[in-house]
Subunit: 216 residues, 2 copies
DNA sequence: AGGGTATGTGACCGGTCAGTAACTTATCAC
DNA sequence: GTGATAAGTTACTGACCGGTCACATACCCT
């Protein structure tokens, strides 16, 4: 009832693409699937539900995607692409200033999507939901997280941190922890509210002259 | 086949309780369920599988538990109990030394369970897997995470941190991030390897005299 | 011995879900 | 217009899963 109405509306909206040409079913399905996977989870969203919400049917789904598993993998690949797009955009605002770049990453990450439909990290959630070790999506998750780790360490190196790997890893932990905490503390950001200040403090402690050595 | 053999073996092992008396079916089921839920996930473990692995059957399951959902909630409550047990044990080693307590929490957390069957935080994983807003387990997760946040802030206050809430939240993010990273970087600890050192640095920056003010 | 309680067994119900088959209907290019 | 290609429709299979029923059996306490 109401479901189909909104579904039709959504499909309509997506169908009328920017240039006026009709969007191929495949793309409608894919976009719908990404939204549903993120907001409802991978396992709890069935193929039928996706096709329905995209204003089409299961048969068309299987004409575009070989299996649900493959679609899930593609969903994560897209999520990865978006992530780096966001990252590069934020970083580009402060060329040759790795410290500001890093801080900006945390500031925008906190300010921007502090809305209700924040459901944590698509990658991490997938890693939780998928248990089959050979699922094509798992490889995407692992390589993505490794890449993030590398980028943070690289950033720390550019900041001339005393221990770039330690700082880089710490930044990654803070970011993952922040995103995750949004899943459990819905609405507000939970313990992630002040992460940007913590990052500054942490960077301070890792660059420049050391503080008057505290013995311990 | 192989499954049933190990199942029987496990059931046998659990059945022979320490004192020699037979363990009630309920307890066998519960322990089995906890292990399976943690290692395989909640949604992918069916009641049949649990009963089987516990060396019994579905009917006995439903004689002990009103529903799977209730069992899941109980599983999380038990996980919570174990968590605080661990916390209190670690903390008790350094009475009246909140800083050492805090550091110890991170040290043991890293050293102890760096084994293969680390699958992240049972609570966080449940929050990902469970989408029904009224699921009894969700309340357990939320209250537990809030409690942890409070404890970390309390610890920061006892450390006489300049901004106890900021430090407390940061510690929580680091811990959540560390545990989560173990799910994605199996085997080694991933970016969590050096978290204990980061914690020390962070505490240093939040207590005692401030460093010669860096202007920014 | 006997009765109550705990447990085991197998069949079953209703529902969901991934994936397939066969057929029909639009759409578009030429 | 015609033919190819994309998309919609309906119905189906086989597997799984949560939960229930009726009945049989083991165990323990008195």
């Amino acid at each position: 009832m109401k479901r189909t109405e909104t579904a039709a509306a959504t499909a309509e909206a997506i169908a009328d693409a920017p240039c006026g040409t009709k969007v191929r079913v495949r793309d409608r399905i894919f976009e719908t699937a990404c939204n549903l996977f993120y907001s409802q989870g991978i396992r709890s969203v069935g193929v039928d539900a996706i096709a329905n919400e995209a204003g089409t049917n299961k048969m068309s789904f299987y004409r575009s995607f070989s299996s649900k598993d493959e679609l899930v993998a593609e969903y994560l690949r897209d999520s990865e692409r978006q992530f780096w797009e966001w990252w590069d955009y934020v970083v580009a605002a402060y060329p040759n200033d790795p410290r500001r770049q890093c801080e900006a990453l945390f500031e925008t990450q906190i300010n921007n999507p502090c809305d209700k439909n924040m459901r944590g990290c698509a990658m991490a959630n997938a890693a939780v939901e998928i248990r089959e070790e050979d699922h094509p999506a798992l490889a995407v998750v692992r390589s993505h997280k490794s890449a993030i780790r590398d980028r943070f360490r690289q950033l720390a190196r550019e900041m001339k941190a005393h221990e770039p790997d330690v700082l880089g890893d710490a930044l990654m932990l803070l970011m993952n922890g922040s995103i995750q905490s949004r899943l459990i503390f819905p609405g507000d950001c939970g313990p992630a509210v002040n992460v940007a200040r913590v990052v500054k403090t942490l960077i301070d402690a890792h660059i420049g002259e050391r503080c008057p050595a505290k013995k311990r």
